[in-house]
């Protein structure tokens, strides 16, 4: 075995994290291959369980799991099921050993909170941050320094659930490079392994979430064609289905809604026993369970595999429905899929494998450990991002349609599901009453026809519209979805020329200030520590920008005029000096900002050149292509001058009432 020699100057390494419902994994790329890192339990899989002990003592993983039946109230399992969910979400009503706390103030918002008794309450974001912090700690111990992180999310996670995951990453002190969809991560791990082009279906049944993704791999590009699923369907539900039978056998009745008088300890024990039975039934045809009964004695309970399969059948039917819809959305028939990949621990259940084979008419692949494959893919993506590699690119989609509530309570879809991201769209609305000065915008996500049946993401009122007759004001609402699948909404009033922009605060997410406050609380020395950390972060950021600028100078210095070049050089020198001597993060930030100022136009030119190289490279006329590629700053200046001329001419023609010609001036 080779020993890693400690090198204090070694660059920080990027990591990939699978933040799962049941288990979490951190991985990184070593010598070109993804490997899972050992966690605080000494294994690759860290149970996603957090126990809040007395005196603020927090443990994560196997140790925490050992408290599940002893101290269920302060032991949070499957926290992922509650990410981005409201206090009144149906998820809080299903069978589970949790105690929830009603929000006490406006500031606590609508987010669900776990009640820890005398120790207050925690949000799912805070609980998840504990798991991430533990994984980060393990990675730091083994890699010495950790750079950015890619965190995976179920493809079917909506905006609120994604935002919550990103917040948890920030709260754990991670620089989140990207939120990556779990099936896409798995495909990445497989695709690199197999190096074959084709259409793949990823069937990902985890502890609490189900995703199906259809994607095409072609020459290093993973293009997601469609995705579907259910962010509240997984192995947990199989356990619950069986526990619903075990509880009565133990002497505790359940009503049809799953409410029971059983104490949390018993609920936890029933779920845990069901989980063990499920595991045993992957190998055996039947299991005999010994259950304690109310009153003291115990009882034996037999579960056959056939019966268990009957219990989980309704769950499989739901996954089948999602698979067929994903195929329809991709305009594909099942037989056109070249390979099916199994992901997630729940695909170990023999009936699940068999079911997937029936749906896609072929034997699924499972040769990479379904518990690790997502973390492997995340590590690969983190490595690609950190090294600005251009061999592989993931093109993912928006999983659920985005829209705005209309007057009648319907939904005006602005971006349909399965749109390739990042993407934007605009929609214009008008006032419906005379002299209306405010306009309420309600942003929703989902496929249902009525807004009330969709997930409510944000609600805001655009104020200050000047009094006008009804229908005169023009309100433009703009949606932007970034590569993490996160939404930003801007609204503007156009007619008056006054443009108003409203930043939308998500209903469930945290503001940057809230994250900052929580970080402060978590640190021993508060302010002091935070400033030291900010300074360290600013140095890293500054170095990165210097590096990027140098790279750009090496390849595209010809796109700078002499005067511009001198300015860039000056700003580079200033930043170098700030990194070396600054005592405050803000001085480095200032130098970064000025460098960005003087490189802004140049960056645009470099992008145009890259676009030209990418597109013209594919066309006939090789000579022309080479000429174009070799064009320097003069050509670009000439081009922008020509564009300005054209614009002026177009305006003139428009004023004259002549149809606007799109012909470009021949130059």
């Amino acid at each position: 075995m080779l020993l890693d020699i400690f090198d204090p100057k070694a660059p920080p390494k990027a990591i990939g994290i699978d933040l799962g419902t049941t288990n979490s994994v951190v991985a990184h790329v070593r010598d070109g291959r993804p490997v899972a890192l050992v966690n605080c339990d000494g294994t690759a899989l860290l149970p996603s369980v957090v126990h809040y002990g007395p005196r603020g003592n927090v443990v994560v993983g196997r140790n925490a799991a050992s408290y599940a039946t002893r101290d269920p109230e302060r032991t949070i399992i499957s926290v992922k099921r509650f990410m981005g969910r409201a206090a009144d979400d149906p998820q809080t009503k299903t069978l589970g050993a949790y105690r929830f706390k009603a929000p006490e103030s406006e500031a606590e918002g609508r987010v669900v909170r776990f009640d820890l008794g005398s120790d207050g309450s925690r949000t799912p974001v805070e609980v998840s941050a504990e798991i991430l912090r533990s994984l980060k700690q393990s990675a730091v111990e083994q890699l010495n320094a950790v750079g950015g992180a890619v965190i995976t999310v179920p493809a079917y996670f909506d905006d609120a659930q994604r935002q919550a995951t990103k917040d948890a990453g920030k709260l754990a002190g991670l620089e989140v490079l990207r939120l990556l969809n779990e099936p896409t991560a798995a495909a990445l791990a497989y695709g690199l392994e197999k190096q074959q082009n084709g259409v793949f279906a990823v069937f990902d049944l985890g502890g609490g979430t189900f995703d199906v993704t259809i994607l095409r791999l072609e020459d290093g590009i993973f293009q997601v064609m469609s995705t579907g699923g259910d962010s509240a369907l997984g192995g947990d539900d199989m356990d619950r289905a069986l526990a619903h039978e075990l509880l009565p056998a133990m002497g505790f009745e359940l009503d049809p809604e799953g409410n029971t008088t059983a104490p949390l300890e018993i609920v936890s024990l029933a779920l845990e026993t069901a989980r063990k039975a499920k595991h045993a039934l992957t190998e055996r045809d039947e299991v005999l369970l010994e259950l304690p009964r109310k009153g003291g004695e115990s009882t034996e309970h037999r579960v056959t595999r056939a019966h268990f399969e009957q219990l989980i059948d309704p769950l499989l039917v739901r996954t089948g429905r999602s698979c067929r819809r994903a195929l329809r959305d991709a305009s594909l028939e099942a037989h056109e899929v070249d390979g099916v990949i199994l992901v997630g621990g729940s695909t170990r259940v023999p009936r699940v494998k068999q079911f997937v084979a029936e749906v896609f008419h072929k034997e699924p692949l499972g040769d990479i450990d379904p518990d690790l494959v997502v973390a492997y893919g995340a590590a690969v993506q983190a490595d690609l991002l950190a090294n600005a590699s251009d061999e592989v690119l993931l093109l993912d989609v928006l999983p659920l349609s985005l829209g705005i509530e209309t007057m009648g309570g319907g939904v005006d879809k602005i971006l349909p599901r399965n749109t390739t991201i990042p993407v934007g769209a605009r929609s214009t609305f008008t006032t419906f009453a005379d002299n209306q000065t405010g306009f309420e915008v309600h942003v929703v996500q989902g496929e249902r026809e009525l807004a009330e049946d969709c997930r409510s993401l944000a609600r805001f009122t655009l104020k200050g519209i000047p009094p006008m007759p009804a229908g005169m004001a023009r309100l433009e609402v703009e949606f932007h979805v970034d590569a993490d699948g996160l939404l930003e909404v801007h609204a503007q009033e156009l007619t008056t020329g006054i443009e108003q922009t409203v930043e939308v605060k998500p209903s469930y997410g945290l503001t940057d200030e809230q994250v900052e406050d929580m970080l402060l609380d978590a640190l021993d020395h508060g302010e002091e520590d935070l400033e030291a950390r900010r300074l360290a972060d600013a140095r890293v950021e500054g170095q990165r920008i210097l590096h990027a600028t140098q790279k750009a100078l090496d390849s595209d210095v010809d796109l700078l005029s002499d005067a511009e070049r001198a300015k860039v050089q000056q700003a580079v020198d200033d930043l170098e000096q700030a990194i070396g001597s600054a005592k405050k993060a803000s001085s480095i930030q200032l130098a970064i900002d000025s460098l960005e100022d003087v490189t802004h136009d140049w960056a645009g030119r470099r992008m145009d050149r890259a676009i030209r190289a990418a597109t013209l490279g594919k066309q006939v006329g090789d000579v022309e292509k080479r000429v174009e590629k070799a064009r320097g700053i003069e050509a670009h200046l000439e081009e922008s001058a020509a564009k300005a001329r054209e614009q002026a001419r177009a305006q003139e023609q428009a004023r004259g009432g002549v149809a606007v010609s799109l012909e470009e001036p021949k130059g």
């Binding site: 991002l385 690119l393 990042p422 496929e447 960005e596 676009i611 149809a659």
Partner: protein, 196 residues
């Protein structure tokens, strides 16, 4: 820029979707945010803006209705609620009957019937697409380069001739049909989701 210009292809209704997809991949390779993770914030924003433009254009070009709308704009064909031609009463009649049949199938939970109705409207849609291709081709200037999807240099470019009122009306009428069919197919697919 119009979506054709963003993809640097000659404006046309009859696009080679394979070539379009390849162009989308090429542009994404250059502009996707993953390529700018380590870049300064301002550059990241610029690239994100361009990547969003490219994906927006792609969405429009792939969808026949939005492609037709974009092409109308390029050709200077005016489209507004006030000047849109009235739908053919025959079509309205036909759609009413079809929708009734769809509603009956939904109530009877007859999946096969829903599919059958969708298939028949898809066939009607195909006819209209052929018709639109023909009509747009008659209006657009001839391609400067042979081969579908290949771009003319400085594309998005040729000056449109004045489109006659009859041509405009017939074109928009076909486009209107396409919208009726789309709405029907969306509904059928929602019913399939619901019944399954």
């Amino acid at each position: 820029m119009n979506p054709f210009q963003i993809f640097d292809i000659a404006p046309s209704f009859d696009l080679d979707l394979k070539a379009l997809e390849a162009r989308h991949r090429d542009l994404s390779r250059v502009l996707h945010p993953d390529r700018y993770v380590g870049a300064p914030a301002g550059e990241r924003r610029q690239a994100l803006g361009k990547a969003i433009e490219v994906n927006e254009a792609w969405r429009k070009l792939r969808d026949p209705i939005q492609r037709a709308e974009a092409l109308c704009e390029v050709l200077g064909i005016e489209r507004s609620e006030a000047t849109e031609p009235k739908a053919d009463p025959m079509l309205l009649m036909e759609m009413m009957e079809q929708r009734e049949a769809l509603g009956d199938a939904r109530r009877a939970k007859d999946l096969d019937q829903v599919e059958k109705l969708a298939v028949s409207i898809t066939a009607r849609q195909r006819e209209v697409l052929t018709e639109l291709t023909r009509r747009f081709a008659a209006l657009s200037p001839p391609r400067t380069e042979p081969g579908a999807g290949s771009a003319a240099a400085g594309s998005g470019g040729e000056a449109p001739g004045k489109v006659s009122e009859t041509d405009r009306e017939q074109l928009l009428r076909e486009l209107g049909k396409l919208r009726y069919f789309r709405r029907f197919l969306d509904e059928a697919s929602a019913i399939l989701d619901e019944l399954e």
